[in-house]
């Protein structure tokens, strides 16, 4: 039972708030370097599933494994806190509303966690900040504050902040949904770059074109279950389920 085969494994994930069941027995395997998109209407449970992977929204049943280690281990409170803090260092997360630290410069946003948790020197931290910000094209804004940046720039810094911890897995929770349309592309480009570098990514998104172009696999969720799962060309072009077809049709109409 403890044997894992895939890099990321979600086994029988279940989550309920009282009598409301938002995740119903969901299982998902992601291989190293794979990119999986989760799509679905709002309230389908896709963000909840994503946030369960790093235990931001703890599951009420089921297991999450990363690289052979169970993330949501059953441990006494204090031990569990240590364990989960350690696990989260390996799981980067990018939020819809960026959640940059407004009181810190771009540089300090990127280096705060590595300095605190990996005890790197100021010099190493500066080098790390420069590398990571260069990677997302934000090096020239290193001494700015978040309030001085556009939404797209903020999200690129947030990605650099997550990457600075050298995570094994990146989670994107509607990373471009809060952006003005003209700013979406710069963030998508950074995500595509990560894809080319074989970063393992799980992406909750409303952007079907982006999902189709970068993802290895697409999950369509509705009402807490995975309705359909497969390569993007199958899910988008030849969906087998009525619910998937309805969702995609509505989405296309919405886009026009």
């Amino acid at each position: 039972m403890t044997e894992t085969k895939s890099f990321v494994e979600i086994r029988h994930a279940q989550k309920s708030y009282g009598t409301l069941e938002v995740l119903k027995d969901i299982s998902l395997n992601v291989e190293r370097g794979q990119i999986v998109a989760i799509i679905g209407p709002s309230g389908s449970g896709k963000s909840t599933l994503l946030r369960a992977i790093n235990d931001l929204d703890p599951l009420t049943g089921g297991e999450v494994w990363l690289d052979g280690v169970q993330v949501n281990k059953n441990l006494p409170h204090n031990q569990y806190e240590k364990h989960i803090n350690q696990m989260r260092q390996d799981i980067g997360m990018v939020f819809q509303h960026f959640n940059l630290f407004p009181h810190l410069s771009v540089r300090d946003n990127v280096t705060m966690a590595p300095k605190l948790l990996k005890k790197i020197s100021d010099k190493e931290a500066d080098k790390l900040a420069e590398e990571q910000l260069d990677h997302v094209g934000m090096l020239e804004r290193i001494d700015y504050y978040p309030a001085q940046l556009s939404g797209g720039q903020k999200q690129r810094v947030a990605i650099a902040r997550a990457l600075a911890m050298k995570p094994k897995l990146m989670l994107f929770d509607e990373a471009t949904s809060a952006l003005d349309p003209e700013l979406v592309e710069e963030v998508n480009l950074v995500m595509k770059k990560l894809a080319q570098e074989h970063m393992t990514m799980i992406i909750v998104t409303h952007e079907m074109d982006f999902a189709a172009s970068v993802c290895d696999r697409v999950l369509f969720m509705d009402k807490g279950v995975v309705v359909e799962e497969g390569p993007p060309e199958q899910v988008f072009k030849n969906p087998t389920q009525e619910r998937t077809r309805n969702f995609l049709r509505k989405h296309l109409e919405g886009a026009k």
Binding site: N54, L56, E81, N85, Q86, R88, Q89, I91, G92, M93, F95, H97, N99, L100, F101, P102, H103, M112, A113, L116, L117, Y145, A147, Q148, A158, R161, A162, M165
Partner: protein, 218 residues
């Protein structure tokens, strides 16, 4: 007996010493009230009931009783249970805790107003709850309430005159001593008032400097 301000110059030394003591007690109390306020706010929001409730009770005592009475109690009262504090220390504790309670109310509200995505982002990077509070939530909350905390600090400066009653030779007591020798109440109280006003201007400049340092963050 008319007004004669020429009585003041011989007491320049006395008054200057009073100014220095007032600045010292205000600065020490301000620091205590600032960091004590943060600590009280964190306790009020996050500590288990066994710590939180007694601390809240003491905070409520500091808020609900006159500062003058608190100073008497700390300086004259504690001696009876074997705690003999120097007047300066008793004054700093009284003023510091009194204003720490007011500051903590401000900081608590501001901590609750910090977007919960901030805590989530910090925890996601692997920070513990405590690290996230220290590095992310508290610094933002404090920056958000710097202006009202500044107002509290100005009130603290003015209330520092109360410690004259327990014998700290600050500005008010210095003026009283000069009056004791010259019987010139108006001249020396007026001089003290002018000096308080000047210290206040300096204090406002310090507060403005802190606020300006945070301009980029808005």
């Amino acid at each position: 007996m008319g007004l004669d301000f020429s009585v003041i110059p011989p007491f320049y030394g006395t008054l200057l010493l009073g100014v220095l003591w007032t600045i010292a007690i205000t600065a020490a109390s301000a620091l205590l009230s600032f960091f004590g306020g943060i600590l009280l706010a964190v306790i009020a929001l996050y500590a288990p009931a066994i710590i939180r409730l007694p601390v809240r009770f003491i905070a409520w005592l500091f808020m609900g009783t006159p500062l003058l009475l608190q100073l008497f109690l700390i300086y004259f009262g504690l001696v009876q249970i074997g705690i003999d504090l120097p007047a300066f220390v008793a004054g700093v504790i009284g003023l510091g805790f009194h204003f720490a309670v007011y500051n903590s109310e401000l900081i608590q509200t501001a901590m609750l107003a910090v977007d919960k995505g901030q805590m989530e982002a910090a925890r996601t990077l692997g920070l513990s709850r405590r690290q996230a509070l220290v590095k992310v939530v508290v610094p933002q909350a404090v920056r958000d309430v710097l202006p009202p905390i500044g107002n509290n600090m100005i009130a603290l400066l003015k209330d520092s005159a109360l410690v004259s009653v327990i014998g700290v030779s600050e500005l008010t007591l210095s003026a009283q001593r000069a009056i004791g020798q010259t019987y010139r109440a108006f001249e020396f109280y007026a001089a003290a008032a002018v000096l308080y006003y000047i210290i206040n201007l300096g204090m406002e400049a310090v507060i403005r400097w802190f606020e300006n340092r945070n301009r980029l963050y808005r």
